[in-house]
Symmetry: C2
Subunit: 402 residues, 2 copies
């Protein structure tokens, strides 16, 4: 099934701490396969392919140290883009086919999220329709963990580990003064609450933050929210709230967008945590601190999950193996076999089932009443942030004075 | 000179990643001294002393693991306060003396910043005036590095290391797309730019971010700032700007406070980075992203500097040693002997020279013209973020594709 030809690989969408691990895994495996000739990286995704902005990766990745360095580098070493191909094939498709044929590319790997899988779907269909055996395989990537057909996505575990570890430190920081306080931590994930839920991994004996978790899957109700905050304040002085950037009211409008500041065109100032912070300041009046984790949660390689990096490299390798096997129009996937011990195997899914689909948190894993998540979700998340080299996985048992 | 008596130790002011290391160092050393009987920790600084909210620390710190755990715990294990004693002795002073005598406290250590040294000054003077041999010694602490009479402050190195490492990751994150971008990172330090300057430690071969450093020591000039941004944009697409939260115009008003948003009482939304972000959006119009490092820069124990933690523990020990030696009304200090190899020794300073004084960055270490810092400042900062166990000290050489 394997054909001789060159390989092209590119990255697309938003950064993660693990996307270069997938690049490294795919290239390292491809280097050992005699069917594969040149190994090109395209700069800035499809945008760079159209400009034939290719880099020969073999000379750049010669030693194990080169690969290790690539694995530990956050964001896209090849750069990224946000380009979408047109719905119907047009002259761009023709140009891409012409470029692939001229460079004798028979294997194309695109590392990206839902939008990037749309390009995999369209290109693989177009190449097949033209009768060309050019294999196009997607490698999943997103901190949001919102891709269908895969148990989870590379990049998510590292962002989740960053969020849990940071949450634990914020809990220490917020508890030092005697007056009551409310700390709101805004977490990425426009439509899926996976990352916001990961804040709960900060909990361990003696540490119960975050006390409220607001996810986009559950419509936000202001009264219920204020009632819950007051309820918890009766029990404890310092509350930490994990707030998804994407929470919405029942009518679908974003909490973030409700800010009075919008009229001035300062939308970037009015995140969900700031909006709710203003509400709490007005209604409850104690010390309120909104914190946006911002891009730090997606690029903090120094807190990446070893499990995530290892899996990201493996799925890159598996994608190459599927392509050599004749697959095209598919995305490599994780299939979880068990939580404890945690075991996964690798598979693939038809990319049309993945492209443009958003996989959100199942509502049965959310405790909407208590604005919290259920144990099933904790069990799902826990293995993904593990670092075998650090038994505490970035969540040390802090010293506590009673 | 040593007298028999009990010891009291407390923490005050804002959190750092190293303040518990000083607590651990002081207690560990005191435990071995037979002059010292009970070792009490006061909860929430002077506030807790007035309520006799004391904890017996000996049973809590029994094993080396207990101490290690305390050293690695961010923020104040004993809690903190923002309380100031009145300028003239009043009934609170009398109450404090009464409490010290009743608990037979002869040694009191207060770990804190400029404001906390004010309490050391006032209490030591009051006790002496009353003819009581109660030794009051300050242990410096602040991420801001703005204390007089000491080369630097415990807690600063860890915050500086966090800022440098995070800056390096943000530089990767911001460079992935082809359109130009401006990323503004807001860094703590209301009057002193030490921490903002530490952003420059992210620079290493192949990585030149941050490209602009705006410090509170230099009056902010809007036109000059815009000119410099345009100048740099002619050379590179993605600029990273390190912005102190405390930058001010020539007339002394804060840039942060200039925000149009203030009228709504949303002052927490209008940090310097957001204000300048809006300005750049309006004047230059490319993609602008403001990032506030917020409390993460002061509590991120996971990125603490080993040098900082070691020194913080040692200075705690030295403070106890000075008190046993008969000193009171002093603060333990670092005296730098050389940058390379980096060596320091420990000393002490009269606390009246420290209390309420702010030590800002010498202007001759700042390049006001290029909105940057000079090599002298880099040389001063570099040793403070070193981790002997990690030769790259949190600043790995990332993989770069030309």
């Amino acid at each position: 099934m394997a054909i001789r030809g060159n390989m092209l690989i590119a990255q697309s969408g938003g950064p993660t701490a693990a996307i270069n691990a997938s690049l490294a895994g795919a290239v390292e495996f491809a280097m050992e396969r005699e069917e594969i000739g040149q190994i090109y990286g395209a700069k800035n995704g499809v945008e760079g392919i159209l400009q034939e902005h290719f880099v020969d990766l073999r000379p750049l990745l010669q030693t194990p140290e080169d690969f290790t360095r690539l694995v530990k580098t956050p964001a896209m070493a090849l750069g990224s883009c946000r380009k979408r191909l047109s719905e119907q094939p047009n002259e761009e498709y023709e140009k891409l086919l012409d470029i692939f044929l001229r460079w004798e590319i028979r294997y194309f790997f695109y590392i990206g999220g839902n939008d990037s899988m749309d390009a995999v779907k369209k290109l693989s269909a177009y190449f097949s329709a033209k009768g060309e055996d050019i294999r196009v395989v997607g490698i999943p990537k997103t901190i949001d963990n919102d891709m269908a057909c895969t148990d989870h996505t590379p990049g998510f575990g590292s962002a989740a580990r960053y969020i849990a570890a940071t949450m634990a430190e914020i809990a220490c920081d917020s508890a030092i003064y005697t007056p009551a306080s409310l700390t709101l931590v805004e977490i990425m994930g426009r439509n899926a609450g996976w990352l916001t839920a990961a804040a709960a991994l900060a909990r361990r004996p003696g540490w119960d933050a975050p006390h409220i978790i607001c996810m986009p899957e559950i419509p936000f109700e202001e009264e219920k929210f204020l009632r819950r905050v007051r309820e918890l304040q009766a029990e404890k002085k310092h509350l930490i709230l994990a707030i998804s950037e994407g929470i919405r009211y029942k009518d679908g409008t974003y909490v973030a967008a409700q800010s009075k500041l919008d009229a001035f065109g300062h939308r970037q100032l009015s995140g969900a945590a700031h909006t709710l912070g203003s509400l709490l300041l007005e209604e409850i009046g104690c010390k309120v601190r909104p914190i946006e984790l911002n891009v730090l949660q997606r690029c903090s390689a120094h807190l990446s999950s070893e499990t995530d990096l290892r899996e990201a490299a493996c799925i890159g390798k598996e994608a190459v193996s599927f392509a050599l096997d004749g697959k095209t129009g598919v995305m490599a996937t994780f299939i979880r076999e068990s939580n404890n011990p945690y075991t996964i195997r690798y598979g693939y899914a038809e990319v049309e089932k993945v492209a443009n689909v958003e996989h959100t948190v199942p509502v049965e894993w959310i405790d909407a009443e208590h604005m919290d998540i259920r144990q099933e979700l904790i069990d799902y998340l826990t293995p993904l942030i593990q670092n075998p080299s650090d038994p505490e996985s970035g969540l040390p048992t802090y010293f506590q004075i009673p």
